[in-house]
Symmetry: C2
């Protein structure tokens, strides 16, 4: 069961929603945010809003007014205490041709889904064969061109494997299909710097904040895939599932690490916002 | 004015068409073909069909039955003698999450647009700042992840510039935003080999066929962007606009080349199919 609010109108989730003029289905011309609604509040809403605004700016999309987004978010939050909220912004206003018209508008879709019922604190992951391409001009954005992630997740159906790790075309570790990744190396954390690929995750940003607060050294840099063999611990994170320790990656196994546990605990204490 | 046929139903082009379960708007999870209807026949239909089938196979999408596509195409062709026909196939069947469900279906959208009224035999082009990323696993496909082309075309609005040339992230020439490119060098043709980026165009394929037929040497290989300075001629091609000589690229200028003219003439004689 889900709820959907499209440009201010509640929608029957089974009915057609998008017109032929929408450029989302044409070219993946849009962005999205996936957020956790917890006890009536959206965790890290201000970070999601900030990323959304900067993404719109980078793609030249008209950004909806903050007051409008706040208003719509409140009407969604009134429906549920706990849920996953997805906000998709798609460029609209042309029937064919790559060039966005100067009159292009931004279509807003809010969707409300059940919160995941089972988020284990530690998980098994695998390597994906599908690589991530490099393009500094689009790196970091949570845009709707996601075929690489789609093809990566299609590689396995074993529900015992919770996430797949992805390398870029040069063999650098970038992250999970739907998460960012951190390695613990000699008491410090490293995480891929995302200058060429990957999504600049809201939970990643908050892990970096929490690490500073906990005085854990953390470095964002290029990470060769072989470095996972030297890691003493690993975790993945995203806005919905929080921080999950990686305890198994094919032949490799780790205990839940100290840094991972400290960050998981700190995240529990972090103040939810709306 | 356009006509649209969605999963066998004629559609009011202004009405909502795609449901929330469609993965086209979610992730650009689909492919498309753009074809020229000329005197009641679709040029190079068998090539479009072949590419569509191989694209579906590479992406793990269910391919619609050929007989069904033929049937729908005929009902479109009955409406007009000359037009542009776009066929989009989008994966459908899930509300959230990258993994395509095993029950995923393929949504078929046929659109009929006016044929372009003005296709000059020679054009001015420019360089785009936006680069094409490299990913051998998706190279060649005309999939719906087209933000790079969208951003490239957003770089100019001068209608005197008909096309933008794009380099990949390593500085290799790949093609135009909506066309493939050929350079004439010492009596032979070279064209980018598309092993890492670019769309394997139907017109490109037919230019390669025509070149063989005309005994013009042609090589598909990596093309450094500097090589345009040594070219004696250049043209771009796509299924709708055919072969267009490039006579101006920023400071560079060329006459319409001999090879270009021979191919343009040969294309006029090539037999249209349906």
């Amino acid at each position: 069961m889900q709820l959907a609010l499209l440009d201010g109108q509640w929608l029957d989730p089974m009915q057609p929603a998008f017109t032929l003029q929408n450029r989302g289905w044409q070219y993946g011309d849009g962005i999205f945010e996936t957020m956790l609604l917890q006890q009536g509040r959206v965790r890290f809403w201000s970070d999601h809003l900030e990323r959304l605004q900067s993404s719109c700016a980078r793609l030249g999309m008209t950004t909806p007014e903050t007051s409008l987004l706040q208003h719509e978010l409140h009407s969604l939050c009134a429906k549920r205490q706990d849920a996953v909220i997805k906000l998709t912004l798609l460029r609209s206003g042309s029937e064919r041709g790559y060039r966005p018209p100067q009159s292009a508008s931004t279509t807003r879709l809010w969707q409300l889904f059940d919160a995941p019922s089972n988020v284990p604190p530690s998980i098994t992951v695998r390597w994906c064969d599908m690589r991530l391409s490099r393009n500094a001009q689009l790196a970091g954005l949570k845009h709707c061109n996601r075929l690489e992630q789609v093809m990566a997740q299609a590689e396995w159906r074993d529900t015992g494997i919770a996430e797949g790790l992805m390398l870029d075309t040069e063999g650098e570790l970038i992250g999970g299909t739907m998460s960012n990744v951190f390695l613990g190396l000699d008491g410090a954390l490293i995480t891929p710097d995302l200058r060429y690929s990957g999504v600049n995750g809201v939970m990643r940003k908050n892990v970096l904040r929490l690490a500073t607060w906990l005085r854990i050294d953390v470095e964002a840099r290029a990470v060769r895939h072989e470095e996972v063999h030297h890691a003493q611990e690993m975790f993945v994170c995203n806005a919905v599932r929080g921080i999950q320790a990686v305890t198994r990656l094919e032949q490799l196994a780790w205990p839940v690490g100290t840094l991972t546990q400290r960050l998981q605990c700190a995240l529990l204490e972090a103040h939810p916002e709306n």
